[in-house]
Amino acid sequence: MVLGVNHVRADVALRGDLSLDQPPLLTALYTRLKREAGFEGAVVLSTCNRTEIYTTEALPVERVATLWGETVGVLPAQFADAAYVHGGDGAVAHLFQVAAGLDAMVLGETEILGQVKDAYAVAQQEHAAGVLHRVFQAAFKAAKRAHAETAISERALSLGYAARELAIKIFGDDLPGRRVLVVGAGAMAAKAFRHLRDASADVTVVNRTPARADALVASAGGRAAPWSDLASLVASSDVVVTATRSPTVVIPTKWVRAAAPLRRGVPWLFLDLAVPRNVAPGVGRVPGVLRYDLDDLDAVVQKNRARRAAEVDAVRQILGEEAARLAREMDTAAVGPVIRSLREKAEHIRSDELEALWRRLPDLSPAERAAVEQTTHRMLTKLLNDPMTSIRQWASVPDGPVYLDALRELFRLDAPSSQPQPD
C-alpha cells in the first residue's frame, strides 16, 4: 500500500509541510510505524516533488496518515484531498512508475531512481524495510530496464542542456579538446557555460564587463578574455555561444565568412541564446556553419519531449512485465514452504517407520536394509510427484492460495509431526 502526495495534487507549500526529508522526522516516523501492531515493513520516499509512505495493507491507511500527520505537525484532514492511496498491484505499479520516472515532473528523469534507492537504503538502516525488500528490488530492476531499453531518459529537455547536447552531436568524443567561446556572463550564458564545462570543453568567456566574466570562470573553471579579442576568439573557436543583452549584432557575417575557409571542413557551431539575436542571420548561410538560435533550440527540445512521450507505452510494457514477474516470484515464494513442509512430514514418517522395522527385524543384513530404504524412498518420491507438480502450478492460478490453505489443513502441515507409535 502507498499513501502519498506529489507535485500533481499538492502545491509547494503543502508538499513542504508534509516533507519528511529531514533525518530526525524520518527516524521519528519509522519509530512510530514499527511500534504499530501488524507492522511488516515500510519505506518513506521524500523528495521536493513527492512524499510517499510505502507499507503493507496490514496497517490501516488512516493510521498511517495519522502517524504521518503527527510526525510533521499537520492534521490528516488538511491533506486528505491532496493525498492518494494505492493498494495491492496498484501500489506496486505506482512504485515502478515512480522509479522509472513516469510519474516525475520531468518525464523520464533518472534522478528519482537514485532517490528511491536512497529512501530504501535509509529504511534498511532503520531496520524498517521488512517484507518490502523484494518489491523495491523489483522496482530498481524494472526502472533500470526501462532506462536501458527505451529512450525515456534520453535527450535534453532544457535549453542549456540542449546546447551542450548539440555540441556533442557535432564533435562527439572530440568535444573535450575543442575550444568553446561563451559571449556574455548573464544567467543564460552561465547555464550554457556550466553545461559545456561539464562536458570537459575548453571554455573561454568574454564579456563587456570583465569582472563578471572573471566571476563566472572562477566558479567553474575555464578562462576569461577581454572583449577586444572577440573577433580573433570567434575565429579560433569551434563552438560559439552568445547570450548578451546587446541590442545589436555582436558577431557579424564578415568575421565568419573570412575565417570559414581556414576550418577546412570542420563544422562550426554558433548557439545564439540572446534576444535580440547576437549572431547575424547571414552567418547560418556560410558553408560549414551551423547556427542555432533560441527558437531552433526550443524546437529541438520540443522534439525531444515528444520522443520521450512516445516511449511511455514501451516503458509501461516493461514495467508490466516486471510486475508480473514479481507477482509470480511472490506466489512461488508462498508455495515453497508448503512443499517443503509436506516433503519433510512424509520423510519423517518414512524414517520413523524404518526405525521401527529395524527393531522388529534385527537380523537384516546391510544390503537388505539398503534395499528396503531405496524401495521406500522410491515409493515416497513417486507418491509425492504428482501432488508436488500440482502445488507448483497453484502458484499461478487465482485460487492457488485457497488450495494451499486446504492442503495445510488436510495434512496439518502447520502442526508438529505426530510421534511414532510403538508396536
Binding site: 529512450a151 535527450r155 556533442i168 552531436k169 557535432i170 564533435f171 562527439g172 568524443d173 572530440d174 568535444l175 577546412r264 571542413g265 570542420v266 563544422p267 558553408p287 560549414g288 551551423l290 542555432y292 531552433d296 524546437a299 529541438v300 522534439k303 525531444n304 520522443r307
Partner: protein, 264 residues
Amino acid sequence: MAGTGTALAGSSVGFVWGFYEPRHERWAAGGLAAAWVLATVWLAMALALSRPSLATPAVVGNLAVWMAATGFPWWSRRPGWGPLAGFAVPVLTLVWVASQLARPWLPAANASPTLWGWVNLGLLGAAITSLLLGAAAAGMYLEHERELLHKMPRVFYYRLPPLGDLDRWSYRLTVWGWASLSGSIVTGGLLTVPAGVYWVQTIGGAGMVGVWLAYLAYVILRARGWRGHGSSWLTVAAFVALAADVVGAGGVSHGVAAGAWHAW
C-alpha cells in the same frame, strides 16, 4: 545464390526500416546471418570444387559479404553504430548482385590457388569491405549533417553517432581499405609479371589506378587537416568509382589481381 540474394535483400529492407523502427533490426540481422552462412558455403564449395573459377567477380562479391557479415556483431554493437547497417548492407547487396551478374574476368583455367593468390584475394576482399564501410560512414555523416543544417531533428539526428565520430571512423576505415587495396595491387602486380601480363594495359586496370589515386589524394588531404563535408563526399564518390570498376570494367581482376589468377 538466390538464397544469398534473398537474405541480403531482406536484410537491407530490414535495416533501412530499422532507421524508423529499431525492432526490425533484429530480423534484419538474422537475414545478414543467413547471408553469411550461404556465402560461407558458397565460398567453401568454390574452394573445394574450383567451380565456378575462383577468378570471378562472384568470388569477390561473396568474400565481401562474408567479411562484412563477420564483422557485423562487433561494429553494430558500438554505441550509436547500429544504423551503419542501414547504409552499408543495401550497398553491399547491390555490389553483390552486380558481382553475380558480371562476366568472369578470366577464363576458368587455373583454379588451384597459391599462397600469394590467397593473400592477394584476401587483401582485395578486406579493401572492398573496409572502403564500403568507410563510404557508409561518410554517407551517415552527410545525412546527419543535413538534418543538423536544416534544424530538423529526425531519425538520423537521434540515432546516428556524432559528426566528429563519423568523420573519424570514415577516415580510419578508408585508410585501412586504401592500404589493403595498395597491398592487393602490389601482390597482383608481382604475380602478373611472371605471366607476362601487365595490368595497366586494360581499361579496368587503368580505372583502378584512377581509383587508387583518388584515395591517395583523400589520404593526403586528410593529413593536411581536411575534414567533414567535402571529405565525406570524396569518400562516397571514390567508392562508387571503385565499385563500378570492380564489377563493371573488371578492374580488379585485370588491373589488380589478374596476375594472381594467371599465376594460379
